[in-house]
Amino acid sequence: MDFSYSEVQLMLQDSVQKFVQKSYDHDTRSKIVESEDGFSKENWQLFAELGWLAVPFTEEDGGLGGSAVDLIVMMEEFGKANLVEPFTATAVLSGGLIAKLADGERKSQLLEQLVTGNLQLACAYAEPGSRFNLSKVTTSAKTDGDEVIINGSKIAVLNASNADQILVVARESGAETDEEGISIFMVAANADGVSISAFTNFDGKKSSEVNFANVKVSASNRLGAAGQAHAALQKIVDRATVGVSAEAVGALESLLQKTVEYSKTRKQFGTVIGTFQALQHRMADMFIECQLARSIVVMAAMQLDSSASELEQTKSVSAAKSRVGKAIRHVSQEAIQIHGGIGMTDELDVGHLFKRVTAIDIMFGNADYHTERFAAL
């Protein structure tokens, strides 16, 4: 048992911190969010150069790390700065699925494009009626000779409007919620029959509703064996869940720090509000929440990297997401409340961190969902 960061992890942490400090203040971020793409291509290229895009992948796959701990070290820093670039969509989710399901030259080609910053991806798994259940898939994939015809609607597809390729989760057989029968296909975003309705989520991320109407792809666009993609999808989503949980931890720490700082300067009735004991104890509770959230995310990441059983790993992920969800509500609401009116304005970074963690609370299942999943396992 060992809690120390590896040299690579320390380097990563340092590298993100330096970038953020130099090039990612609140104004810069706001401009990026308001831009057409909703992220900075320049930054993305820089991330590639700094090796960040290679972090989710093993050395074997041409990556730099591949461990869950590597991921959380970096994503916690992303969270602190409320980074809006589509790292989770392209690298963690889609890249993770490619690494897990694809093989041979296709795999190495795709991953090379990805880590060099030349490929944007999106993963379309959620549907209007699926809520958080990954095996509830009604989007259909019918084999027709060498081709597969995809029909269905997906929601909450992050980065679809910038993606070159979309990884679509579709059902080839089985009943609506069967784990068996689910496949993943790579579909060009500009393929016939694909319509993308793009907008910005409240956390500034680009997202889309994507409709597939008789979209034809070659059967070779299927990643992995037919109908066997569920386990990989679950595993990668679990990993992404830990990733965004770490991002939330970073954002919450940022919120705490900004709140404490604000309370030291803001005066009411002639007194700095940070001297009011009622607020002090509430900030102490925010600190406790941050520490517990961080601890359980570390736990989940370490479990994913360990020899623990699948069951233990899955439970750890749900434990972390559930607990982080509670911390999100508690810490972010207190941050706004202690800031008062100014915390409600669009101008301050505090409100944007609040919105980002609220989105993370929903992503891949909220606290209630993960508590039940934990309890049922």
Partner: protein, 399 residues
């Protein structure tokens, strides 16, 4: 004690219901149900319908156009309005400046301002808060210097809700710098069209600019716009601040929202073949909120009852502010939890009047997050919930 309404109250309730069913425009109702904002014109129109019926200002004394209703009748009216989603009048005229004009204004001021408020001909906004003042209202800096028949006003006010629609603003201004802060404040009415008044919208987390900063740059205000005596403004304002803590609990609105929540939950797939109302955790969370709402409803009724026996609404009513706002925020949360991914899209303009595009996100789910964000204000404004707790400590517990 008796939970049942009397025959008279029941018949009054029936009247109110019939009136609302017939007169509250169907299209407004659909907009409210779809979480869309009514436009100023629509709110004014509705207010004029109420005025025509003689029901514009239940909280006013009869001689100014009030209804002369009992507390129970007022409660019934507010409940039925809330249940159907009919908007209350914008409070700044009807509930904030009018009572002060009635209590401290001259006869000329009453004649000049009250009828237009009652008929919704003139919209008001509030000029209490200032940048950096927060809950410490009395530390305000906006100055009014006497110059013949006028005051010259300079300074800035903030958190002016609907300032962009307002014709007039009532302001606390500093008229004496040499005395302690509460004693040099006057209460001034200012026409928003006076030269030197400018507005800056403040965008909030929900993407909407419902509040503004208002700047005063050598604004000339006739002395006849002063309410009561110079330097006595704080006394007038304080009365208002401890006033009207009732009807703030939002119980009828809460009931309407819970009804909607349950309807939507019953239509929401849990992803495992059931609907969300069949989900135990969710169902019990809804039950908890319903129970809290019942407790709050009776806390409010008990306060109303104590007012009808002639007692002033005591500081106990700070409870209604605290519990009402925190419960509303819990309802905001559970809507977000119910919606899940569906509330992520941020297209605030689709809930505004005049939006022509296709709605983004199924149904109105995307509005839930906006409401969640916007309503964080509820525990901050109107005397933050921390201030309310201080009031309870001091005035009730003697701490």
């Amino acid at each position: 004690m008796d939970a049942d309404f009397t025959a008279e109250d029941l018949s009054f309730q029936e009247d109110v219901r019939t009136f609302l069913e017939n007169e509250f425009p169907e299209e407004y109702r659909s907009k409210i149900d779809a979480n869309k904002r009514l436009s100023k014109e629509e709110i004014v129109n509705w207010q004029k319908i109420l005025f025509a019926k003689g029901w514009a200002a239940p909280s006013w004394p009869e001689k100014y156009g009030g209804t002369g209703w009992s507390q129970i009748q007022k409660h019934i009216f507010a409940t039925e309005m809330g249940l159907i989603g009919a908007p209350e009048p914008v409070p700044f005229g009807m509930k904030m400046v009018a009572p002060i004009i009635m209590a401290y204004g001259s006869d000329e001021q009453k004649a000049r301002f009250l009828p237009d408020i009652l008929e919704s001909n003139v919209w008001w906004c509030q000029g209490y808060s200032e940048p950096n003042a927060g809950s410490d209202l009395a530390s305000l800096k906006t100055s009014a210097v006497r110059d013949g028949d006028h005051f010259i006003v300079n300074g800035a006010k903030t958190w002016n809700t609907y300032g962009q629609y307002a014709d007039w603003i009532f302001c606390l201004v500093r008229t004496d710098n040499t005395v302690k802060k509460q004693e040099g404040i006057s209460f001034l009415l200012i026409d928003m069209n006076t030269p030197g008044v400018t507005l800056r919208p403040i965008y909030l987390l929900d993407g909407h600019a419902e509040v503004n900063e208002v700047f005063f740059d050598d604004v000339k205000v006739p002395v006849e716009n002063l309410i009561g005596e110079e330097n006595k403004g704080w006394t007038y304002a304080k009365v208002l601040l401890t006033h009207e803590r009732t009807n703030i609990s939002g119980v009828p609105r809460g009931k309407r929202r819970l009804r909607a929540l349950k309807r939507i939950a019953a239509e929401t797939d849990d992803g495992f073949g059931n609907n969300m109302l069949e989900n135990h955790t969710f169902r019990n969370r809804v039950a908890d909120i319903e129970i809290e709402l019942k407790a709050l409803e009776y806390a409010e009724l008990r306060t109303l009852a104590s007012i009808s026996t002639g007692k002033a609404p005591g500081p106990e009513s700070s409870i209604l502010k605290i519990v009402g706002t925190e419960l509303a925020q819990r309802i905001d949360e559970i809507f977000v939890d119910l919606a899940g991914y569906l509330c992520l899209p941020f297209v605030p303009e689709q809930f505004e009047d005049g939006f022509q595009g296709d709605p983004v996100g199924p149904g109105n789910s995307a509005a839930y997050a906006l409401t969640y964000f916007n309503n964080r204000k509820a525990s901050i404004y109107g005397g933050s919930n921390e201030i309310q707790r201080n009031i309870i400590c001091k005035a009730v517990l003697g701490l």
